[in-house]
């Protein structure tokens, strides 16, 4: 296919270019870091990839489903704690740890969803927040597992020699694969019949119910799926840091996840990845400038909300619209040049 056709078909948009650049960077990063020995960068990006995965699951319910869950970090924490607690009790096989992490977060999602999805709007925001806070306090009270101070995980999950998680690069690629898998799953889910019901219910729940969809069940299922996948990202995060602590599910972590989703652009499959990269890299850069970097980040967030509602994604789309005619022009020009 010619580059002209790519332009004409609208594949080359600012957004796709950014996504492609990020993906290339993410996939090739270990090559660079193993060459230079810059493991800080690898560690940072492992974190980014894991949090992008968590944000993708939030995007499923927040972006596509319109369910503003302010307690999503709870699942990260639950996934992490399941792995940590099992490791502490001597059960190190990942074949048990990870499915249990999924199940535990799924059960929590089922309970919270069943209660909170009965409500709407601001009630929903506050209730999900409150339940996440409850889990946070429960973790604080678990003196056996470190309580306030958290607990170190001494043995990473064992997968019977199939994959060695203690190798940084191997673990990084596992995270990348799981992230891409999550993104693909969200994409497939959101565009399936199931996903269309969810999206329809976001736009007008009453109408969806009027035409015969039991939307509560659909939304609850969606909520549970998002929770389970997020629990998996929690297991990854705990493995990455070899540490669990209640801070993993502090409510500001939930806020961070929402920021990533909104910053990257809601209801777009790669949005959370863009958002996670944008937020965490921005944090790194700002904290390099000043110790008080949040004094910049906070107002910046407010400004994004006030003036750039669509986040990075919105800016890229705007840019795209602005130059669409130009890009079509280039495509036509290139095609004409080839023809003649």
């Amino acid at each position: 296919m010619t580059s002209g056709a790519w332009f004409r078909r609208g594949w080359i948009t600012p957004r796709n270019v950014v996504v492609a650049a990020i993906l290339t960077f993410v996939v090739l990063l270990p090559v660079y870091t193993s060459g230079t020995g810059n493991y800080f960068l690898l560690s940072l990006f492992t974190r980014i990839v894991i949090l992008a995965m968590a944000a993708s699951t939030l995007n499923l319910i927040l972006g596509y489903g319109g369910m503003v869950s302010f307690g999503h970090a709870a699942y990260v924490g639950i996934g992490g704690y399941v792995v940590g607690i099992l490791a502490h009790e001597g059960i190190t096989t990942g074949f048990l740890q990870w499915p249990l992490a999924l199940i535990a977060s799924g059960v929590f999602g089922l309970v919270v969803g069943a209660l909170s999805l009965r409500t709407r709007g601001v009630y929903f925001i506050m209730i999900t927040l409150a339940f996440a806070q409850m889990i946070y306090y429960v973790a604080l009270a678990l003196d056996r597992y470190g309580g306030d101070d958290g607990m170190t995980i001494y043995t990473r999950s064992q997968f019977a020699g199939l994959i060695d998680l203690s190798q940084k690069t191997v673990f990084y690629y596992l995270c990348v694969v799981l992230l891409l898998g999550t993104i693909y799953l969200v994409h497939r889910l959101a565009n399936s019949r199931f996903g269309l019901v969810i999206q329809g219910s976001r736009s007008n729940d009453r109408r969806m119910r009027a035409i015969g969809f039991p939307t509560f069940r659909y939304r609850l299922t969606c909520f549970v799926i998002a929770g389970m996948l997020c629990g998996l990202s929690g297991a990854l995060l705990a493995t990455h840091t070899d540490f669990i602590s209640p801070a993993m599910m502090h409510w500001t972590r939930s806020g961070d996840l929402i920021v990533m989703v909104v910053l990257g652009g809601m209801a777009s499959v790669f949005g959370p990845l863009i958002g996670a990269v944008a937020l965490l890299v921005l944090e790194e850069v700002l904290s390099g400038i000043t110790e008080y970097w949040q004094i910049i980040l906070g107002p910046l967030l407010l400004l994004v909300v006030l003036f750039a509602r669509g986040g990075v994604d919105g800016i890229l789309l705007h840019w795209h619209d602005h130059y669409r005619s130009a890009s079509h022009g280039i495509g036509n020009l290139l095609a004409r040049m080839r023809r003649g």
Binding site: L62, V68, F70, L115, S116, R118, T119, G121, V122, Y123, I125, M126, I127, L129, A130, F131, Q133, M134, Y137, V138, L140, A141, L142, D143, R144, G147, D148, W251, T252, G255, I258, V259, V262, Y292, W293, Q294, I295, L297, G298, P299, L300, L301, L302, V304, V305, L306, R309
Partner: protein
């Protein structure tokens, strides 16, 4: 008279609530509980248990009233401006820091407190004019994100100005004693004064909203903003004033709490979530609901924490009880919230219409 959305005070009481031992309970809590009624200071006799129970109930009431101060501002702002303000907890923190600073500067507790209230009110109004005003009418998600940004800003600003260490608000000697509240039951005069002040504030709020012209405008503005402004009322100014009032209430709660614990960065966040629980239970927008719910939450939380571990020890082994006790008692109010949600999804005192 049609019921307005905010109709806040249905009951004469508003309390002021603050947060008392809750949020930071894990860090510096031991210290605070030491002042009075520490569950660990167990007395084994039956009379001792009764005494402890009375004391814990009073602590619960005091905590509940402190929570009410915070929840009242939240629910007022939500009911009238339809704004979810996460940064309300920051105003609580700012109030505490102002009080500590001004008390140290002026050397007078009362003077410092009054100055702090005025200053917090001004900060609140400034925040309203600069940021919040632009968020009215936006999506709730926008409110959450924007005010989340404000929290980061406030926390960092406080760290920049006052440093990362907490600040102590020193009580004058006349508050730092205990009084006999019932024959044979001594109680901290400071905690008792919190109860009195909060109840007075509740009464003041009730009078303000139900019996004054300003209150009438507030209620009218909650029902129909355009109509009120078409009648020639400066609704923008009114909103700013309401926000300032909410800020002052939050600041009052914060500074009262600061004397029990300390003024710390992030002190407002955990208590803010409790205030959310309170207004979910009470019904969003209802000040009466906030009052009832905050006292319920305060009592259940404090009394549960004090006695649940002991009750568990009766049925469970020592080890199991010492693990399950604290975990379950920290879940109690969320269980309460769950039950209320199942029975009445709109809260105990739902605000009709809209």
């Amino acid at each position: 008279m049609p019921r307005t959305r905010v109709r806040p005070l249905a009951g004469p009481s508003t309390g002021s609530g603050g947060a008392s031992s809750n949020p930071q309970r894990y860090g510096s809590t031991k210290r605070c509980l030491g002042l009075l009624g520490h569950p660990d200071a167990r007395v084994t006799t039956v009379g001792g248990t009764m005494l402890l129970f009375v004391e814990q109930c009073l602590n619960g009431l005091q905590f509940g009233l402190l929570l009410f101060l915070l929840a009242a501002g939240l629910t007022l702002v939500f009911g009238i401006m339809d704004l979810v303000n996460l940064a309300h907890g920051s105003l609580y923190m700012v109030g505490a820091y102002f009080a500590a600073t001004f008390t140290a500067l002026t050397g007078s507790f009362i003077g410092g407190v009054l100055l702090a209230l005025v200053a917090t009110c001004l900060v609140g109004m400034a925040v309203e004019v600069i940021a919040m005003r632009r968020l009215y009418g936006r999506d709730h998600l926008d409110h959450v994100l924007g005010t989340f940004g404000l929290i980061l800003f406030f926390n960092e600003a406080v760290r920049l100005i006052w440093g990362p260490a907490g600040m102590n608000l020193t009580l004058p000697s006349w508050l730092n004693t205990s009084i006999e509240i019932l024959p044979g039951v001594p109680y901290s005069s400071y905690r008792f004064s919190i109860i009195v002040v909060a109840l007075a504030v509740a009464l003041f709020l009730y009078m303000l909203v139900m019996r004054t012209r300003i209150g009438m405008l507030i209620r009218a503005g909650a029902s129909n903003r355009e109509m009120v402004s078409a009648l020639g009322v400066n609704i923008k100014l009114l909103y700013t004033l309401v926000f300032g009032l909410g800020a002052a209430l939050a600041g009052l709660a914060g500074l009262m709490q600061a004397a029990i614990l300390t003024a710390q960065i992030g002190m407002g966040e955990n208590i803010l979530i409790l205030a959310f629980v309170v207004i979910i239970i009470g019904g969003i927008g209802s000040i009466r609901g906030a009052f009832v719910a905050s006292i319920l939450v305060g009592l259940i939380d404090t009394v549960g924490r004090a006695f649940l571990p002991d009750i568990f020890k009766l049925v469970l082994s020592q080890a199991a009880a010492s693990t399950a006790g604290p975990a379950v008692s920290s879940m109690l109010i969320y269980l309460l919230m769950t039950i209320v949600l199942v029975v009445r999804p709109e809260g105990l005192f739902p605000v009709s219409n809209k």
